[in-house]
C-alpha cells in the first residue's frame, strides 16, 4: 500500500469508527427525551431545548472525526 492508498483508508476509517459512539449517544439521548416527553407532555418545550443542547455536545465528537478526516484528505 502506497501513501496515497493509506491516506484514503485512514480517511474512511476515521469517519467510520469516529461516528459509532456519537451515533449511539444521539440515539440514546433522543430516545430518553422522547420517553420523558411521553411521561410528561407539558414539559416538552423544556426537554426539547435541553435535548438539542445535549445533542449538539454529542455531535461535536462526530465533528471532530470529520475535521480529522478532512485534514487527512486535504492537508
Amino acid at each position: 500500500m502506497g501513501p496515497e492508498e493509506t491516506k484514503m483508508l485512514a480517511t474512511a476509517l476515521v469517519m467510520a469508527v469516529g461516528t459509532i459512539a456519537p451515533a449511539l449517544g444521539i440515539g440514546i439521548l433522543a430516545g430518553k427525551a422522547l420517553e420523558a416527553i411521553g411521561r410528561n407532555p407539558e414539559a416538552a418545550s423544556k426537554i426539547q431545548t435541553n435535548m438539542i443542547l445535549a445533542i449538539a455536545f454529542t455531535e461535536a465528537i462526530a465533528i471532530y472525526a470529520l475535521v480529522v478526516a478532512l485534514i487527512i484528505k486535504f492537508v
Binding site: S45, K46, T49, I52, L53, A56, E59, A60, I63, Y64, L66, V67, L70, F74, V75
Partner: protein, 260 residues
C-alpha cells in the same frame, strides 16, 4: 467535482486578502442591515406581513432566553439574536444557486483551477472561528460585568485542592469552547456542501432535492445551537460560583411542587 477545504482568495486589497467567503459574509451583513432598516423605518402597531415574520423570530429568541435565564437574560438577547440571524442567513445563502457555481478559471503554475465567486460564509473556518471568539469573549465580558473580580474565582481558587483543580479544568474548557464552537458550525456546513456536491455529481437531477431540504434544516439547527450555547454559557458565567441552577434553589423546588 470541486471541493476545497479553504476559501479561495479573490483579490488583494492593500495586502489584505479578500476571499470568496469573506465576500459572502459582507453580503450577509449588508442584507441584514437592509432588512433591519426596512423593518425599523416602517414600524407599525398593526404589523404587516414582513414585520410579522421578523417579530416571530425576535419573540422566539426572547422566549428562548427567558426560558434559560429568566427576565434578566433579556440583556443578552441582542448578541444572541445577532448570532442567530447572521448564521442562519449565511447558512441559507450558501445553499442558493450561484454560490460555488459562478466563478472564473484561474491559471496557476500551468494548470487551471476553478475559483467560485461566492462561498457560504460559514463554510469557511475563519468566519466560524471569528464568531466563536466573539462568543467566548462575550461570555467572559458578561461574567466580569456581573460578578466583578469574583468571576476569576472560577479559574483561580485556592480554598482547597479540588477547587484548584476544577479551576484549571474551567480554564481548559473555555479554550475548548472556541474549538468546539468553530468546528461544530464549520464541520456541519462544510460537510453539507460536500454532501450536496457529491450527490449532484452522482445524480444531477431530483436526487439532490431531499438533501437540500436536509441542509436547510441543518442550517437552522446549527444557528439555533450556536446561539443557544452562547446563551447558556453566558447564563452560567453570570451566576455565583456554587449557586448552581437546580433543585437546591428554593424557587425551583417550589416550581416542582406546584407542578409548573
Amino acid at each position: 467535482m470541486h471541493i476545497s477545504l479553504a476559501a479561495e482568495p479573490l483579490f488583494h486589497l492593500y495586502g489584505f486578502t479578500v476571499t470568496n467567503s469573506l465576500l459572502a459574509s459582507f453580503i450577509t451583513s449588508i442584507l441584514l442591515i437592509i432588512i433591519a432598516v426596512l423593518v425599523s423605518s416602517k414600524l407599525n402597531k398593526k404589523p404587516g406581513r414582513f414585520q410579522t415574520i421578523v417579530e416571530v423570530i425576535f419573540i422566539f429568541i426572547i422566549d428562548l432566553a427567558e426560558s434559560v435565564g429568566g427576565k434578566k437574560a433579556r440583556d443578552f438577547v441582542p448578541l444572541v439574536l445577532t448570532f442567530f440571524l447572521f448564521i442562519l442567513l449565511s447558512n441559507w445563502l450558501g445553499l442558493l444557486p450561484g454560490f460555488g457555481s459562478i466563478g472564473f478559471n484561474e491559471i496557476e503554475e500551468g494548470h487551471t483551477t476553478f475559483v467560485p465567486l461566492l462561498r457560504g460564509a460559514t463554510a469557511d473556518l475563519n468566519t466560524t472561528l471569528a464568531l466563536a471568539l466573539i462568543s467566548v469573549f462575550a461570555i467572559q465580558y458578561y461574567g466580569v460585568a456581573k460578578l466583578k473580580l469574583g468571576y476569576f474565582k472560577r479559574f483561580l481558587n485556592f480554598s482547597n485542592p479540588i477547587n484548584f483543580f476544577v479551576g484549571i479544568l474551567e480554564l481548559i474548557s473555555d479554550v475548548a469552547k472556541v474549538i468546539s464552537f468553530s468546528f461544530r458550525l464549520f464541520g456541519n456546513i462544510f460537510a453539507g456542501e460536500v454532501l450536496l456536491a457529491v450527490i449532484t455529481s452522482l445524480v444531477p437531477i431530483i436526487a439532490p432535492l431531499p438533501f437540500f431540504g436536509l441542509e436547510i434544516f441543518v442550517g437552522l439547527i446549527q444557528a439555533l445551537v450556536f446561539s443557544m450555547l452562547t446563551l447558556v454559557f453566558i447564563q452560567l458565567a453570570t451566576i455565583e460560583h456554587g449557586e448552581a441552577p437546580g433543585l437546591d434553589r428554593p424557587m425551583a423546588r417550589k416550581e416542582v411542587e406546584h407542578g409548573t
